[in-house]
Symmetry: C2
Subunit: 316 residues, 2 copies
């Protein structure tokens, strides 16, 4: 076997890395930006150390309608483990949830959401919590699409993640969902290392004595959304990302940060405009509202991906 | 060029990756653990995804005596930029500092330290702050060793970092110093990516309008020491590290976490016992005190590295 053959074998096997994308202006813009940044000698070449890409999760990588996956997971988990929590805390919350139409759970107030997430992602260790979430992704059917949750990641976005990784990017997920929720599937299903998942979080505790594990307390700590996404990117990655994807007003700050500064960046909203294959929503939606984002996109050089027009297929 | 030659060229050029370590029990234990974890087919083999190593910074990678580098940096910076801070805040602090013997600055109270760090690492952006720190590392001579700070990283630890990286580990620095302080030199001098530096931190702010930068406010936020090191490892890495190095009681929790749990880990304290080549201190020291660590080491299976006995040379 000679060196050329060896190199060829090391290349990704699929000749077309973005096969689920329609050829069009959007795809050409992305490919041209990334090729410019990664081709030595190109005037817009960017050294590997600076190649960072950030992706929102709900609605950008994963189906978020009609109700955020994590909300549905927490309800499932709290119903299963009801007895493990103080009745005076969990009963009123479950009563309230059962009083709502199942597709209106996004109407929970912010304090109710914090309580739901804090309890829902609590447990004796990260491993224990992620094991439960993993099980849910495998077995829970989406209420209208009728497929297991783990099959409802957008194939075009998985292709972008793989392609950017192959191009020397470190890919991060920056999400309003809890870290353990996304980390439960990020490595196996998305090829994103656990430490590259930045998200909302609960309180933890650690004792040096056995089991010497980091417990997840049933108490919410911080929501990573809007401007906080930028603060956490800076705190945990430490550099301005070169490429970014989001889908809602919660991502306006992050995408503006990617596209801003004194060197070019490429950022885009995924626009849910495909009622036939998935859902159509933007302004005024109670899940993943995209309103101010549509207003500022053109002015700030943020792209808008049409799921209907730009994506050949949504799921594998 | 054939494939075998190509593979051979891809191997690290130096045959002995830990050349600055004396052959002895300590080195043999480390090498045997890491080889066991990284050799396919070995009974203690660990998949690449789970190979995480954590290093404390001050006193473990970098000289910390007689006064923590970051404290000296902050004094240098605040004296230079005195006019940029409110006089009623900075004058009493600098007066207090000037009233102390220069080698006793570790006696600053905790609130004074917070104030010093908060102001000392503030600035209009992370880039601006790190540029100043980088300059200091290049130009500031250590008060007694008389070498620039950037030359005072322990060569044996740099070798371990490089070796573990070559063995498929992701190496993280987990430090009580501020993130920007360590990030200013981590990539260039230590080969540790900026996002792999976890440390103490100040408040930030972000506005979408130009300059669209993440400002460092002159306000301290969180000290990453003792048990908080473990919480931040879990929050930001999301798995128990396999290998860990520290040097003080601030690292007891972290090293106990590395060595604990239900799978083997390897962890060690660097013991400063070399008054001739560096400094000798442990119990009762005002910098990097190692007291409880020496008491619990044997019981918890934590190794103790003798700088005098285990290291052939300290600096390059």
């Amino acid at each position: 076997m000679n060196a050329v053959l060896l190199l060829w074998l090391a290349l990704p096997l699929r000749a077309e890395p973005l096969a689920s994308w329609n050829d069009g202006e959007l795809k050409r813009s992305l490919v041209s930006f990334v090729n410019g940044a990664t081709t030595p000698g190109s005037p817009s070449f960017v050294p590997t150390a600076e190649r960072v890409a950030v992706f929102d999760f709900d609605g950008t990588i994963s189906v978020e309608a009609p109700v955020y996956g994590q909300v549905m997971y927490c309800v499932w988990r709290l119903e299963r483990d009801k007895a493990k929590f103080p009745a005076e805390r969990i009963d009123p919350l479950l009563d309230r949830i059962h009083s709502m139409p199942p597709d209106r759970l996004n109407d929970l107030s912010y304090p109710e959401t914090e309580d739901l997430w804090g309890m829902g992602l609590s447990g004796p260790s990260g491993d224990a919590v992620r094991r439960d979430v993993r099980e849910w992704f495998k077995t829970e059917l989406h209420p209208t699409l009728k497929r297991p949750r783990e099959e409802l990641f957008y194939e075009p976005m998985r292709e972008v993640i793989n392609w950017l990784t192959a191009k020397g990017f470190r890919v991060f997920i920056v999400t309003g969902s809890m870290q353990d929720f996304v980390r439960s599937i990020s490595e196996e299903r998305l090829g994103v290392p656990r430490e590259n998942v930045i998200g909302s979080d609960g309180e933890r505790s650690f004792a040096e004595e056995p089991p010497n594990a980091v417990e997840r307390k049933p108490k919410f700590r911080e929501m990573v959304d809007k401007g906080v996404k930028v603060l956490e990117i800076d705190r945990r990655i430490g550099r301005r990302p070169l490429v970014g994807f989001g889908n809602s007003d919660g991502d306006v700050a992050m995408l503006s940060y990617v596209a801003g500064g004194d060197r070019p960046g490429w950022a885009a909203f995924v626009h849910h405009d495909d009622a036939e294959r998935e859902f159509a929503y933007d302004r005024g939606s109670d899940v993943g509202a995209l309103d101010r984002g549509l207003d500022v996109a053109a002015k700030r050089g943020l792209h808008v991906i049409s799921m209907k027009g730009d994506w050949k297929r949504l799921f594998r």
